[in-house]
């Protein structure tokens, strides 16, 4: 997920009044130069353009080309058109994995964003030194590499080394097996929530900073309670930041990979096709079927695109209605 997302609500776009005239004349001058020297403009864009072509367009094109042929171990490689895609969308392993990440997302995303929003609203309302420290601490898990985080939680979940598994035995219960098939998704969800709540909290908090304080004053004068201000004024004001955070989280969830890949070292219940991305990885790097793996990746990318777009569409419709 990209770190450089716009983190201010549109309401915040109103800059404090600055001398507008010189500013505008400067920009006019710039635009005149661009039309006069198209080569210079192209040169400025070129480095970025080259990087995008070399590391995005070309690999994507190559992967797509790969996905159009099939390789069978015994018969070799042949062009097969959309066969790989037909196979992907009827592959029970992929469909099971998809269903799993969708269920996972339906539970985990609302919980994580709910906590993040609550945290952001609290931070916004409380202005002490404690709040600053809390902000840093909440953000910290995001700074821990995902692989390290997953390994660390692997130990925390362990029955030998972790503090949690044996808790029920204090009251006479059975120890918890965090890697059992019934708890595995919860265990993974906990890691993801741990890693990303603080990050989303900071995004929402930053958006809250951009909301004009006058709105709160007006609400207070109208007799709103702090809770009403939070829910009726602040949340609607940062709606766009919330939906942006949600969209990136949905995309990330569809691409669920690192945590299950690491946890598979402890948990036999994580199968080869536990998540769609893990399945694509195994097809390429365990079964040497780079062609089918490329098709799986594109199919997944397509689904992510559809889901993300549907999300934006629904959000806009709702936004337009209200």
């Amino acid at each position: 997920m990209t770190r450089s997302m716009p983190i201010t609500a549109p309401e915040a776009a109103t800059d404090p009044p600055t001398p507008r005239v010189p500013d505008e004349s400067r920009s006019r001058r710039r635009s005149r130069r661009v039309t006069a020297h198209p080569v210079a403009g192209a040169l400025f864009v070129l480095p970025f353009f080259l990087v995008v072509v070399a590391f995005l367009i070309v690999p994507l094109g190559y992967a797509f080309w790969l996905s159009l042929s099939s390789k069978s171990l015994a018969l070799g490689t042949r062009f097969s058109g959309v066969d790989n895609y037909v196979r992907a969308f009827t592959d029970p392993v992929l469909l099971d994995g998809l269903l799993r990440v969708v269920l996972f997302g339906l539970v985990q995303i609302p919980i994580m964003l709910g906590i993040a929003l609550a945290g952001a609203l609290t931070l916004d309302a409380v202005t002490t030194k404690f709040a600053l420290a809390f902000r840093l601490i909440a953000f910290m898990p995001y700074a821990v590499p995902a692989v390290v985080g997953a390994l660390m939680w692997g130990f925390l979940y362990s029955r030998t080394f972790g503090p949690f598994a044996d808790l029920p035995t204090l009251v006479g219960g059975d120890p918890i097996d965090f890697f059992s098939s019934s708890l595995l998704l919860l265990s993974l969800g906990n890691i993801v929530t741990w890693a990303w709540t603080g990050y989303n909290m900071i995004i929402l908090y930053s958006a809250l900073q951009g909301v004009p304080r006058e709105m709160y004053e007006a609400a207070v004068i109208d007799g709103a309670t702090p809770v009403q201000i939070a829910l009726r004024v602040k949340v609607p004001a940062i709606k766009q930041a919330i939906s942006l955070a949600a969209i990136f989280t949905v995309i990330g969830t569809m691409q669920f990979f690192t945590e299950p890949a690491i946890m598979a070292r402890f948990a036999p219940q994580i199968s080869a096709g536990y998540t769609p991305n893990l399945y694509a990885y195994n097809q390429a790097f365990a079964y040497s079927d780079f062609h089918y793996s490329a098709a799986l990746s594109f199919a997944l990318g397509f689904l992510v695109f559809v889901v993300a777009y549907a999300f934006v569409f629904v959000n806009r419709r709702r936004g337009a209605r209200s």
Binding site: M1, T2, F55, S72, L73, A74, L75, P145, A146, V147, F155, S158, R159, T160, F161, S180, S181, S182, V192, A195, W196, Y199, F248, T249, G252, T253, Q255, F256, F257, T258, E259, R265, F266, A267, P268, Q269, S271, A272, N277, N282, A284, F285, A286, Y287, S288, F290
Partner: protein
């Protein structure tokens, strides 16, 4: 999850570094190729043996015409993933790569390995244990040079068995009895763990007389035999499944911190392990060192002498080798009969040697191990290796082991009857093989 972009960045960074390193290597290699008359041939090797640095140094010290550049790019699956990528890309593979026995047909069908028979490797046939040589070769074609093996035997806690008067099992029926007795004397203990390890389960099935796979590229590239539902195979899963269901077997995956701690705390009393296992775990089992002993594997029929193997590895020469002849020499002589190499291999890395002379050497068979309270455990492992017969693998063994692990995981969580595990794996593997263009027979 959301960290995929972050991961991608790290991968790019690694790639960048790898490219830089490759560039340097390429320059070095170019130098070697251009000035073949004045300098030694440089051969790149990927391997993850412990203590391998000394072996490489010994080779380089004893050869003037060939020098080895060694890289450890990761253990097992990590290295294979890199190899498979390099073979698909057409470049980037080393000249010589360490490959485990069960992976040889997989790399053969990817057309990744040089037939070292063309460079005289058939001369080595009689040096190595027969079973190992037959797995490394296909008729006259020599795809791999054996290094170490994993003849299986039963590691057990002698002190605990003695203390509670439980006889050490000699048959699998006695093993199941012992499992129940252990649970009775210590409810927190288990006879062992069902470790969710394809190679381990495969070794147990091998010992039971199960020969589920057959493949020979020399005979027919597109014909493969899959027969996982033979009674010899089913009885292994039945026995272990029954012990798991009764709560007599733990379920920790092997080589995790949990499993190692359980071995060292008295939670597990036995481990049906391989010749290399003691060396692998001895360093981590500080509390219980000296309390373990090795017994021959329990038998399916009382008095029989059936044996199995878990793991073991070889050196292969890749099709991308710039000088296949020099690379073959490296594969044959890095260990081979090199005394210096085996000194390190036996005493520091604890490999089980597949070179018959080395395995038969009294220095090896007569070696007393402190970890086993002075027991000369190789007196047990060596006859096992000598007894091992032919066993073949499929050219898609990763898929077979992964599917088998996924199905046993379902059975462990109660989502599947143990009796259907092999049936389902058979079905999935046959479907996969047919999709890959193979004609499948039983």
């Amino acid at each position: 999850m959301l960290g995929t972009n972050w991961l991608a960045k790290v991968r790019m960074a690694k790639l960048g570094r790898a490219l830089a390193v490759c560039g340097l290597l390429a320059v070095a290699a170019c130098g070697g190729a251009a000035g073949e008359d004045d300098g030694p041939v440089r051969v790149s090797v990927w391997a993850w043996y412990p203590e391998f640095k000394g072996v490489v140094e010994a080779f380089n010290a004893s050869h003037t015409d060939i020098q080895v550049d060694w890289t450890n790019v990761g253990t097992g699956p990590d290295q294979y993933a890199k190899l498979k990528t390099a073979f698909t890309a057409g470049k980037g593979a080393p000249d010589v790569a360490m490959v485990e026995f069960q992976q040889i047909p997989t790399f053969v069908i990817l057309d990744a390995l040089v037939d070292m028979g063309e460079h005289g490797a058939n001369e080595d046939k009689d040096i190595y244990a027969e079973w190992a040589w037959s797995q490394a070769t296909d008729g006259e074609k020599v795809y791999a040079i054996p290094v170490d093996g994993g003849p299986m035997a039963l590691m057990y806690r002698k002190d605990l068995f003695d203390q509670h008067g439980i006889p050490v099992p000699t048959t699998w029926a006695e093993y199941a009895d012992a499992a129940a007795k252990i649970k009775a004397v210590d409810p927190a203990a288990y006879i062992a763990s069902f470790g969710s390890d394809g190679g381990w389960l495969n070794g147990l099935m091998w010992q039971a007389g199960c020969r589920p796979y057959g493949y020979s590229q020399a005979k027919a590239k597109d014909e493969v035999k899959i027969n996982l539902t033979a009674p010899e195979c089913e009885k292994v899963v039945d026995l272990y499944g029954d012990m798991v269901d009764k709560g007599l077997m733990a379920q920790d995956k092997f080589f995790t911190a949990d499993a190692t701690a359980a071995l060292d705390s008295g939670k597990y009393w036995t481990w049906a392990a391989a010749g290399w296992t003691p060396g692998y775990v001895a360093g981590s089992l500080k509390n219980t060192a000296g309390k373990w002993a090795v017994a021959p594997m329990p038998q399916w029929t009382a008095g029989a002498d059936e044996q199995g193997d878990w793991g073991g590895s070889t050196f292969t020469v890749t099709k991308q080798a710039k000088n296949p002849k020099a690379a073959t020499t490296v594969a044959r002589e890095l260990f081979g009969r090199s005394k210096a190499a085996w000194d390190i291999g036996l005493n520091k890395a604890f490999l089980y040697p597949l070179v018959k002379d080395v395995a038969a050497d009294p220095a090896f068979t007569g070696k007393a191990y402190e970890f086993f309270n002075g027991q000369k455990v190789n007196e047990i492992f060596v006859p096992v290796s000598e007894k091992l017969g032919e066993f073949q693998y499929t050219p898609f063994q990763d898929f077979v082991f992964k599917d088998l692990n996924d199905r046993t995981a379902e059975a462990m969580s109660g989502g599947r009857e143990w009796s259907t595990v092999l049936e389902e794996t058979q079905k999935n593997v046959v479907a996969y093989a047919e999709k890959q263009g193979f004609k499948v027979s039983r």
